[in-house]
Amino acid sequence: MIDMSDLFKGSSTIASAAPGINSAHTPRSAARDTITLAHGGGGQLTDELIASVMLPRLANDALNQLLDSAIVDLAGTRQRLAMTIDGYVVQPLFFPGGDIGRLAISGTINDLAVSGARPLGIALGLILAEGLERGILERIMDSLARTAAQANVKIFTGDTKVVGRGQADGIFITTAGVGLVPEGRRFHPDQVRPGDLILLSGTIADHGLAVMLAREMPDVKCSLVSDVAPLNDMIDSLLAAAPGVVFMRDPTRGGLAGVAADLAVRTGYTIELDEPAIPVHPATLHAAEMLGLDPLDVANEGKVFIVVRPDSAAAALAALKGHELGRDAAIIGKITAAREGLCELITEIGGRRVLQKPYGEQLPRIC
């Protein structure tokens, strides 16, 4: 038998732990005073952290917009500069349909593209953990280079650091991207108005569930693959065909629910989404059921959520469907004139429910 006494060294025993033992910390303050995984989930808790810690200290006109890219004026030109940054800490490093290298380029390119910018170049920050196999790094860099070539962007500059074993999980990548927004183009929630239609460029939740299955249930055989891809080429075709596009987001962490609920709050309008119109792969649905997750809350890395004037919607849909990354595109909802600032989902049976931004960490249900 193992001696259990050392388990309790330096702490009160469980049986005698009285309620309120640490009276300086109420449970709720304890929960608030430390960063939890849920703070990084891209949901309500991330918003709360940004609003209460970052914005009060860092606020400025560009940052306050809280969009996928910051858009700033450039002296001497009517084009504007788009700038964005993202950190990538995915596990496993390689997953069905992609890897951390492809993800690091795609995510940043997509943040630029949905802001209406043509990507110029990327700055790459690598944090490597001591002990990472050189071969793994080479595979990741190969994939990263291929994805950059596919997106037609160059890596302008980079930085490499190594931390001690255990201080990072293999490799963390940060990519910052810059791009130029052509004159006269402005995608912003304040452009959105009642009657506008909402398009989605394809099936939801493929990335998040492919990664989660690979991580949590590596033995499960499944046809599900991540949708991770740079979308700038498809978005170029879309914008050439559909002048009525007024706003775009890529529904990454927080999923479709996060993006739609966010837009409802920011525009003040009620957004209606038609659940049966939202494309979902059957394999994704099954995986979501198995893990007890709602596909609407799950991350995408190769999809775009588009708000378009009704007279441009058919052209937009055709342009998306004409691109290999947008074949499953669909019109999934509309902006209504009601001013509740909520997103409502109309379900297959005709019921209505409020769609909210997920809370934070994706937690599987018990049964």
Partner: protein, 381 residues
Amino acid sequence: MTPRALQCRRHLDRLASAARAIARPLAFMEVCGTHTVAAFRSGLHSLLPEGVRLLSGPGCPVCVTSQGDIDLLIDLGLDCRNLTLCTYGDMIRVMGTRGSLSSARSNGADVRIVYSAMDAVRLAAADRKHQVVFAAVGFETTAPATAAAILAAEAQGLTNFTVLASHKLILPALRALLDSGQVNFDGFLLPGHVSVIIGAQAYHPIVERYAIPCVVAGFEDVQIADAMARLAEMVRDGDKGPENLYPEAVTPFGNPIAMALLDKVFEPADVTWRALGTVPQSGLEVRKRFALFDAKIRFGLRAAFAPEPRGCRCGDVITGRCTPVDCPLFGSGCTPTQAIGPCMVSSEGTCAAWFKYGRSGRLRKVASDSSHQKQKMEALS
């Protein structure tokens, strides 16, 4: 309209017609967290006829766990840094007196989310010098998996795997609820998963003693609508059941293998529930023969009484005595990001479901945590 939507519409018409004949408000209670989520997710509540309500009973495993048991688990995570605590995801944010497993984890506790009890056994087998504790919650649905995990650990000769069991049984809970004298509902929508294990016949004594209509239902929105319509028809016609509307999964006598597994590893015990208090023979305790795998024995753990959070009406919510919006904390003090009671934390919790999928006017006003963020953003710009 899809065929499914049409089918659902037909059941709701049946429900409306029976409700009209009864000519008084009707309320049915589901006692399964999966039903709670399915009903809200499908928007079924928004389609119910006027005067018909679906209440959530003590079916969410996290919500029925007493504050003392929750504290026991979280204190173990907080105080014992040399062990790995494995838990189902739903438990991770539940507030104990000293915080949650999530905050314990951010303070260095080794807390892992697992998908099955067997995952915890695998962890223990991978490093036999390291203690692994599995936090076992849930009804007859998850308890057989815990039993199987203990047997697997025994077969592998593991001495570093234990279970902190707070499994509960559904029938004693229904009885306690009906005995409480505050029954303000007209029938039970019985759980699908639990019934797969215990069988539809298991509810006969309840029906006979309390003469309350009971229907076993599946988890699709159409199946829930069908079961509600059937319950209303039973009220109208004076029938009691129990009826099994989920025969593709639920047999009259359940799953004998799972029941034998339960009986081999566990024995019924008096346990404390949130809201219902101590209910005789309503929980499962690890049998003495498997004491090696009982975390309570291994670590000398004993649940202390811990009061439920002040102002929190989770207990009333899970017994159908109030709806979440009747709780003074709902949406103001208690939200999914700053939860006080377990019903707001668990994804199967009624308050969480009301908050997430809600529809009433009041809900809409408080429905979005992000509204305060919007105000802050406006103040900044």
